[in-house]
């Protein structure tokens, strides 16, 4: 959400997104950087912004703006800071500054980090980047900048970013953090968004960036578990409890073997359903 647009900032918690990014980077022109960071700071302090996680994308470490961004934003206590062009250096440097500001302003929140992986180096150094701070909550794939860094053409079929998608989703799962897929840029193609998001979910992404409010419903529909999946997961968990009482480590359900990985998957589906408000 462009950080210098008060009309958009004001509507942030009406969009039914789980998380909102107020942007101080690409969506703000160079001569309005000062105006945007003051506006976002005031918005964070003034707007109720209930029921939605609010994060702020600051400018990258190689820009002259990131420090002033953090100085302005951290005292207003956003839920998280989104770091573009993430690297070990950018995470460590910004965390140091965030901690300094949190202490100086005695903030109550411990600011989370969401990292955008959008360079070839960021991709191959993913493990070190994720291990560089215990505040990292999610990694986000930024396929447009990644394609630019790779010198390759970005296509709607997205074959060229498959490796990056698998890598980001797998690394996030390995560290038990969220993996958010790159935005689908054709905002008029709802069917394309749905198909592409289903693929993202199938390889382990847990959410997706939306670049237009119209995309939110489709993304939610894809990522929330179906009623059939929830019911099956609940039955598996019930059967697992019964099996445990009988001292059985493995049992069968609908002719298929159910062991620990299947039970864990069922637990994830029920947890996800709870998160989406589909079960209590």
């Amino acid at each position: 959400m462009p950080g210098n647009n008060p009309g958009m900032l004001t509507s942030a918690d009406c969009l039914e997104a789980d998380s909102i990014i107020f942007d101080l980077e690409d969506a703000v022109s160079l001569k309005e950087k000062d105006a945007a960071r003051i506006l976002v700071r005031e918005a964070l302090s003034f707007l109720p912004l209930q029921g939605v996680e609010v994060t702020v994308r600051v400018n990258p470490l190689d820009s002259p703006y990131w420090k002033e961004d953090l100085e302005s934003i951290i005292p207003a206590e956003p839920d998280g800071i989104v770091i573009p062009k993430a690297s070990v250096e950018s995470v460590q440097t910004m965390v140091k500054e965030i901690k300094r500001l949190e202490e100086a302003h005695q903030t109550e929140k411990k600011t989370k980090l969401l990292l955008i992986i959008e360079s070839a180096m960021g991709l191959i150094d993913l493990r070190n980047i994720i291990e560089s701070s215990d505040r990292i909550d999610a990694i986000l794939l930024g396929a447009e900048d990644l394609s630019s860094d790779m010198g390759i053409k970005r296509t709607k079929e997205s074959k060229e970013i498959e490796y990056a998608r698998y890598l980001v989703a797998t690394a996030a799962r390995a560290y038990r953090i969220d993996a958010l897929d790159t935005p689908f840029t054709d905002i008029d193609d709802v069917e394309g968004l749905e198909a592409d998001t289903r693929f993202a979910k199938s390889i382990g992404f847990t959410g997706r960036l939306a670049i237009n409010p119209r995309q939110i419903v489709t993304i939610h529909e894809v990522f929330s578990p179906t009623q059939e999946e929830i019911e099956e997961a609940q039955i598996i968990l019930h059967e697992a409890e019964e099996a445990e009482k009988k001292g059985l480590g493995v049992f069968s359900y609908k002719g298929k073997m159910v062991d620990l990985p299947v039970i864990k998957r069922a637990e994830q589906i029920v947890d996800s359903a709870r998160k989406w408000g589909l079960v209590r």
């Binding site: 647009n5 008060p6 009309g7 004001t10 000062d34 105006a35 003051i38 506006l39 700071r41 005031e42 918005a43 302090s45 003034f46 707007l47």
Partner: protein, 87 residues
């Protein structure tokens, strides 16, 4: 904060306001243009004056053209204009 030169902040788009500030000739000379002047004029004025006090501005001429901005937007645009005028 001293107003050293003319500065502008904000836009004339809906939900925003544009603030123009110039060095004053003693005290605060405030003008507001708003379609909701009758209902919210006093509140807008209070927000502008409070922001100027917070920033230590005692001497300026300031014109605010309001397009339905909420308080936080008015505060932000006044602060941006003041900081730009101080640079």
């Amino acid at each position: 904060m001293e107003i050293r030169k003319q500065a502008i902040a904000g836009t004339l788009q809906s939900n925003d306001c544009q603030v123009r500030i110039v060095p004053g000739e003693g005290g605060i000379d405030l003008s507001i243009e708003s379609s909701v002047m009758e209902t919210f004029g006093k509140q807008i004025e209070n927000t502008i004056r409070e922001t100027l006090v917070r920033l230590g501005v005692e001497d300026c001429r300031i014109l605010v053209e309001d397009r339905g901005a909420l308080d936080y937007t008015i505060r932000a645009r006044v602060e941006t204009a003041v900081r730009r005028a101080y640079e």
